[in-house]
Amino acid sequence: MAAPFKSSAAPRWRWTRLLLYAFLLLFAIWYLTPVYIILMASFKSQAEAMQMQNMWLPPHILGFKSFQIAWFGSTEPPATLGLEQGFWNSVMLVIPATLISTFIGSINGYVLAKWKFRGADLIFTLMLFGMFLPYQSILIPLVMTYQNFAKFTGIQLFSTIPGLVVAHVIYGIPICTLIFRNYYAQLPTEMIEAARIDGANFFSVYRRILLPLSQPAFVVVVIWQFTSIWNDFLFGVTLANTPKVYPITVSLNNIAGSFHVPYNVQMAAALLTALPPLLLYIFLGRYFIRGLMAGSLKG
């Protein structure tokens, strides 16, 4: 009796299996729709992009003019300010901000994981709140401080790249500290105790034992910080007031926000803005996902 039972079960199994794949495929299409529409629009010429009824169709002739305008801008009407300046501003901002906040996070994580003092957990929790803070609630004092900083110190923070770096470093400390603390906490303390008996001090334990083991945590934090600083809009739009300092997201919003810029140029600009974090995701996705998990507090 086993044989007929089996043969009747097999097709059903295949049928649900097929449904399962169809369902997953449907969702994959949904997730890829914006990518499709961005690619279709950005490789079209302006004349072709104007034919709205063809917006879901691929371009007849593959063109790169829209990327050229999106990057360099255009003086002929409709005059457009390109992404180029914003791109380099973001590069100049994201590199120091990522490196500094990662280093601070690493040393903070070391202290909070392996040198717990009384009240360390409270301080850690107070730090963590910074990860969830709605920045609107600190924005007015931040702008006031930045605008008046030069008066007292001679250092210009408002609407400068270093000013944006400072903001991203400070508000990046909580997440960087969290990831490193959780990473160091799972390293065996016995290893450190052994080194201590051999006379290693606070700094040599960090340099000789933890630092060489930290490479995975560094990759995770660097990717996380790079992505979130590159993608930031709020600090960029509030703490910068000239295209000379605008990060790329603000440049993109200005291109896309002015309704006279044709769609093919808007989409090309969106693609260029998304590209650096997307490349990181494609090549280092594993570490990217680990950062996402850490962002939910689970180590």
Binding site: L24, W30, I173, T177, R196, F233, P277
Partner: protein, 355 residues
């Protein structure tokens, strides 16, 4: 406390004269705290002092470009809740939009994320490709998401031709599904003249039958774009949770005669409760803070404030309208909403870790 140097102390004492050891131990302790100090001071100022400063500004009369620190008490807050000013109407709509957005966004992400995670857990060929496709939107800026989805959801018109999704729907013959998307000023609410509205009126809840307690249809577009970006992340959290449940547990349930549905109902879903809590807290706080996406999708303006949200209102009121005290009061309310959600969660997490 086993992960600290307290445990090392007992060993070290043996090898070193007591006094010298104490001196070294104390010196290093001081160094460790000194190293942490710059971060503690920076965050104390840039988070906590600034919050206090914002709170102070919210109690002043500084509602023009010239700073004015005259104390006015809770006047700025009161204006958001009562009095019938445009500020009040706008803020009421903000809360309405925020609540609708939060429920649909969090609920949608959980349903889609959980569904995709359970499907991907069924030994799928090409699982990693599907996973990558579902998760890549997380790597992208909300501004890019907003620009792309604005283009897809641009409604177009009958005269100039339909655009985006409306164009697809028209070509598929699904004309009745066309929508004005994020430009739709429609607000669904209980009309006072309907039986339900009259019933609410008769039990003294007539106030609920008003646009303040409705749902602005335009928020659906924001939900779609935000859900597109965050549902893959929800999937990843659930998938990690499902994978951490030992196979033996499921096997044992199956041997005991549980159906596939029963395994989910009695084993997997209950064990995923902590993941669900994390997901709800993370997504809800993102929903409360939503700003960039709405800003880039709608340009920050909407007919009848149909897509206005508190974070956007705060930014517009403060930096476009130079009403600093009014903006500060919105910021504080936003902070309180996030705090009510996050503080218990952080306390719970810290306690759980301590155990």
């Amino acid at each position: 406390m086993s992960s600290t140097f307290e445990s090392a102390a007992g060993v070290a004492v043996v090898n070193m004269p007591k006094k010298r050891w104490w001196r070294r131990q104390n010196w290093e302790r001081i160094v460790s705290i000194l190293i942490l100090m710059p971060s503690i001071i920076a965050l104390a100022i840039f988070i906590y002092a600034f919050i206090g400063w914002t709170g102070f500004i919210s109690l002043t009369a500084w509602n023009s470009s010239v700073p004015d620190f005259t104390f006015v008490g809770l006047k700025n807050y009161a204006r958001l809740f009562v009095g019938g000013s445009t500020d009040m109407i706008r803020f009421h709509y903000d809360i309405r939009n925020e609540v609708g957005f939060l429920i649909l966004f969090v609920g949608g992400c959980i349903i889609i994320g959980f569904l995709l995670a359970t499907l991907l857990d069924r030994k799928i060929r090409g699982e990693s490709i599907f996973r990558s496709i579902f998760l890549f939107p997380m790597a992208i800026s909300f501004i890019v998401t907003g620009v792309a989805w604005r283009w897809i959801l641009t409604p177009g018109t009958q005269e100039t031709g339909w655009v985006g999704i409306n164009l697809l729907l028209t070509n598929l013959g699904l004309d009745h599904l066309r929508s004005a998307w994020f430009t739709d000023p429609t607000v669904l609410y209980i009309q006072p003249t309907t039986p339900l509205g009259q019933f609410l009126g008769s039990i003294g809840l007539g106030a609920l039958a008003a646009p303040d307690f409705g749902y602005a249809v335009a928020m659906t577009s924001i939900v779609i774009a935000a859900g597109w970006q965050m549902s893959g992340y929800t999937m990843a959290l659930y998938l990690a949770g499902i994978r951490s449940i030992p196979d033996e547990l499921r096997e044992a349930a199956r041997i005991d005669g549980a159906s596939e549905w029963g395994v989910y109902r009695y084993i997997i879903i209950p064990l995923l409760r902590p993941v669900t809590l994390t997901v709800v807290v993370i997504l809800a706080h993102i929903a409360l803070k939503i700003f960039d996406l709405v800003y880039s999708m709608t340009g920050g303006v909407s007919a009848g404030f149909a897509t206005d949200v508190p974070a956007l209102n705060m930014w517009k009121t403060t930096f476009d309208g130079t009403q600093f005290a009014q903006g500060a009061s919105i910021a504080i309310i936003l902070l309180l909403m996030v705090g009510v959600l996050i503080v218990p969660y952080l306390v719970w997490q810290t306690r759980q870790e301590a155990q």
